[in-house]
Symmetry: C2
Subunit: 135 residues, 2 copies
Amino acid sequence: MPKQTYTISELAHEFGITTRTIRFYEEKGLVHPLREGQKRLYTPADRVRIKLILRGKRIGMTLQDSVELIDMYEPQRNNTRQLHSLISSVKERRTTLLQQRKDIDDMLAGLDEVQELCEQALGKRRNKVAGTKRK
Amino acid sequence: MPKQTYTISELAHEFGITTRTIRFYEEKGLVHPLREGQKRLYTPADRVRIKLILRGKRIGMTLQDSVELIDMYEPQRNNTRQLHSLISSVKERRTTLLQQRKDIDDMLAGLDEVQELCEQALGKRRNKVAGTKRK
DNA sequence: CTTTACGTTTACGTTAACGTAAATTTTGGC
DNA sequence: GCCAAAATTTACGTTAACGTAAACGTAAAG
């Protein structure tokens, strides 16, 4: 069984962020910890939300973007209208994600080239030395 | 032959950014336009740099990050020390890019699920209606 | 020659996402 | 029952990446 609750510093340590950041996320309505007296107690759901927010941040999404994405997973939507709206949100988000993946692949290809050139240059240098030695 | 120079508003229009943004990039040393009197004239190289900066922005890189990445393509480095240093920079960058691609793939998988659920819900609804009709 | 459109410099303003610090509880351990 | 560690609230500060506005130059068109 997963632990039922977490303290703020537990989560801060696990994710490598500060408690300030977690409280800031609460201010923005991204998490809703319970209270035990004064102390905040985070549920596994809160923990997951923080994880998803940090994932979003890694690819340059704003907190608001992440919230919208997370909300897609929690379908409070029942009627046809809202379902269609949700589907089109999904499609939009997918489009930008695909663009981002293309950007990343392009950069990776560029890095491969750079490394190739570096290693060639280093290789030639070693060969030169080896050549002079042999002579 | 590609055009030899561009005005600031040509580039701004092409990339969907403002002239202010382009001048800001110059302040930060990201581009180095020529001058014809007072007016800035951008070379194809400047144009490419802006393109790469915008690509970086799309995946959440800072301008400084983009500059460092772009500099990898312009190898002023001759000695072995610098070549090794460049290679390790390349490796670091590749690591974060791979993490980002994984994040994106995870999100895309999540979106697929959401859409699946939506379409199932809509499908059932249509069947319901069709069912009542048939009766 | 005077609009009209584009370009320039200078400078203050704005927003997101926290950092940092101070003052004040709260609490688990001895 | 006390103390140090951890938590809380409040509030001002910071950085990146531009936005916005004012005040001015210039050049081609009518």
